[in-house]
């Protein structure tokens, strides 16, 4: 399969629910390319419009504006039964009056596939999701995890070009969810079908996806690989929603030239860090930066540190230790700062609550957030 051809193109899609007074903008001008054979995740908090976008791609909702292209063909106005896109519903929506095998063969029957082929595909799907033994059971005789597998097999059987999964793992318990995450990845590799996966669980998104789109309040904020999303968040919301982050407001920052792509940040003891930033970034107000807790180290010697403060809390987590620090501030406004340090075996130094420490980090680990965006 061509790795880089575009499976789904979302072009300037907006969705308004309701009319007049009660009109609600659920999706705001989203543009996005989803590649062939990709495990693509839509990540965002509850109510941000993930399901809305998925339902527009599936054909259950019409976009108020914009269009959806499947392999270059505009499908915005095709009904769901004419789109080669299948959905795994959050509630599974399995047919209660049919057996497992009948559920899986439903789509194939509707496509008028020959009987022999249907039989073959169904048994292939059953073995793919390890449900051969239970093929004659009814849906209410299955556990949640088994129902999940049937829903997957049913949606995969007609070999759609794109599979949509709406919070498919949310209803499962932790252990089963972990298992199904691996299972989903395996199925995606085995079938080579593009998966568009919806979740509000950032950890799930990071571990499973080839690429992630972060959505908040109907706006597409950032699209990128898990690495890019985690390490180079371009937005205050993305930085805070994905992983833990320390935000710092820096009041003394400067640019040597307004068009420059580096910014100079002043820290304690006149230390200056040179950090890359957007070219057109304005410095008319204080800027904020984001630093991941695990990119920070503590030192005893406060004089050489970028920031200083007092440890207020220490929690031990086996492989690492989390410190909560209250930074010294000139304005008197308390600001807490989180540090996560690996517990190396040779590490002799341990810090205790109440101790004064210095905080250091590297310029390349700082992410400048442009709040004016």
């Amino acid at each position: 399969m061509k790795q880089d051809s575009i499976a789904i193109k979302v072009e300037g899609v907006s969705k308004v629910y309701g009319k007049g007074e009660s009109a609600f903008l659920a999706l705001n001008n989203a543009t996005l390319n989803i590649l062939d054979n990709e495990f693509f995740t839509l990540l965002g908090p509850s109510g941000c419009g993930k399901t809305t976008l998925l339902r527009i791609i599936a054909g259950f909702e019409n976009p108020t504006q914009g269009s959806i292209l499947l392999h270059g063909e505009d499908i915005s106005h095709l009904p769901p039964n004419l789109r080669s896109v299948n959905t795994v519903f959050q509630s599974y929506a399995l047919f209660p009056h049919m057996t497992v095998a009948e559920n899986i063969s439903f789509g194939l029957e509707m496509l008028n596939k020959p009987k022999q082929e249907i039989k073959k595909t169904v048994s292939k799907m059953l073995s793919l999701v390890h449900m051969e033994e239970l093929k004659d059971r009814h849906i209410d005789e299955l556990s949640g995890g088994q129902q999940q597998r049937v829903a997957l097999a049913r949606a995969l059987a007609p070999e759609p070009k794109v599979l949509l999964l709406d919070e498919s793992l949310a209803a499962l318990d932790y252990k089963l969810r972990k298992e199904m995450q691996i299972e989903l990845k395996r199925l995606q590799h085995a079938t080579g079908i593009t998966f568009i996966f919806v979740t509000h669980d950032q950890e799930e998104a990071l571990t499973m996806s080839d690429r992630i789109a972060v959505i908040n309040e109907g706006k597409l904020l950032q699209v990128g690989t898990p690495h890019e999303i985690y390490n180079k968040p371009q937005d205050h919301f993305v930085a805070s929603f994905v992983g833990d982050t320390n935000f710092l407001e820096i009041s003394s920052a400067s640019k040597s030239n307004n068009n420059d792509e580096v910014i100079f940040l002043n820290f304690n003891h006149d230390q200056i860090l040179k950090v890359p930033c957007k070219k057109d970034m304005a410095l008319n107000k204080s800027i904020s930066i984001a630093i991941r807790p695990e990119k920070v180290s503590l030192v005893k010697d406060a004089d050489s540190a970028l920031l200083t403060g007092e440890i207020v809390d220490v929690s031990f987590f086996g492989t690492d230790t989390h410190y909560s620090i209250e930074l010294d501030s000139s304005s008197g406004k308390a600001q807490s700062f989180h540090v996560r340090m690996q517990n190396a075996s040779n590490q002799s130094k341990q810090y205790v609550a109440g101790e004064r420490v210095g905080v250091i980090f590297k310029a390349e680990d700082i992410q400048v957030i442009d709040d004016s965006r």
């Binding site: 599936a58 054909g59 259950f60 009904p79 769901p80 039964n81 004419l82 896109v85 299948n86 959905t87 519903f89 509630s91 929506a93 399995l94 047919f95 209660p96 009056h97 439903f106 789509g107 509707m110 496509l111 004659d136 009814h138 049913r154 949606a155 007609p158």
Partner: protein, 316 residues
């Protein structure tokens, strides 16, 4: 050894349990006595009286003579020729049986055809509007059956609305004969019993998980296939309940066939009434009533079988 000890230990307890259970059942019977009395005396009592009367001899001026006879039952199915006394099937009765069954089935079908979309429409309205629509469905119940039937007579009559309308469109020259036909009876019964189909259907459609329809639609089913493969199998209980509720009163209907069918479209209810009235043949009337009951019971059995079979399927 072990087992012995166990049984010794368990014995008194289980005996006590059994005693308590017995007390419970006695008390339960006692408490449900009013219901049992109503059921036995009020429901099956008249039935047994009917059964008993069907085996008595008719009195010439109505009522019965206390003398056993099979004449009533004989007359349900057979008759003697007026002239030569040869034995013939009671074709008048049999054609009325047949007509009753046929018109009731067509009525049930009509109620499904019109009731299903109606129930579906109501069940898919916003929750706040549903009770309004349900209220509209039940409005006809607010007027007397006779008045409603007279209204239908007006609509179907020679110079009624339907004929006037068709004439004004130029579709017909002469008024059609609509009233006093089997069609009129069927229309009338379908109109009267429609709510009995809509209400149980509404109840099942309302509980339908509409994401299943989306799932089917997503899996390449056309709208018709969604209806046939998903909606109908899932609302079957409501469909069956509605059909029973319409079929049973239809087959025993009295007022509607009497008024809309004229003398030519009699149904079982009219035939029975005739025997107790002008016919002055109470045993025949009683035997016909029991026959009607048997037809209804056969129909019920058929329905129960059809639902329980799908139930068995469901369990396995």
């Amino acid at each position: 050894m072990d087992q012995n000890i166990q049984s010794v230990v368990e014995f008194p307890e289980s005996k006590l349990e059994r005693l308590k259970a017995k007390q419970r059942t006695i008390r339960n019977y006692f408490l449900s006595a009013p219901a049992l009395i109503v059921l036995t005396i009020a429901a099956s009592g008249p039935l047994f009286i009917m059964l008993f009367y069907s085996f008595l001899t008719a009195d010439e001026w109505g009522g019965v003579v206390w003398q056993g006879s099979l004449q009533g039952w004989f007359e349900v199915f057979m008759r003697h020729d007026i002239f030569d006394g040869t034995l013939l099937p009671a074709d008048a009765h049999l054609s009325i049986f047949w007509r009753s069954i046929k018109l009731s089935l067509v009525t049930t079908l009509l109620c499904i055809v019109f009731g299903f979309p109606t129930a579906y429409f109501i069940a898919t309205r916003p929750r706040s509007q549903r009770s309004f629509w349900l209220f509209l469905v039940t409005v006809p119940f607010w007027t007397n059956l006779l008045i409603r039937t007279f209204a239908i007579m007006q609509i179907l009559s020679h110079s009624g609305f339907v004929n006037k309308f068709l004439q004004s469109l130029g579709l017909i020259e002469e008024p059609l004969r609509l009233l006093y036909t089997e069609t009129a009876v069927t229309i009338g019964m379908a109109y009267v019993y429609l709510p009995l189909m809509v209400l149980p259907l509404y109840a099942t459609i309302e509980r339908l998980d509409f994401s299943l329809l989306e799932a089917a639609y997503d899996l390449y089913a056309s709208r018709l296939q969604v209806l046939r493969r998903v909606i109908i199998p899932l609302v079957k209980p409501g469909l069956v309940a509605g059909s029973i509720l319409v079929f049973i009163p239809s087959i025993g209907a009295y007022v509607t066939p009497r008024l809309l069918g004229g003398g030519k479209s009699l149904m079982l209810g009219n035939l029975i009434e005739l025997q107790f009235g002008q016919g002055r043949n109470w045993p025949l009337g009683a035997a016909l009533s029991i026959t009607l009951l048997v037809i209804v019971m056969v129909a019920m059995l058929f329905y129960v079988r059809s639902t329980s079979r799908s139930g068995v399927n469901h369990a396995h």
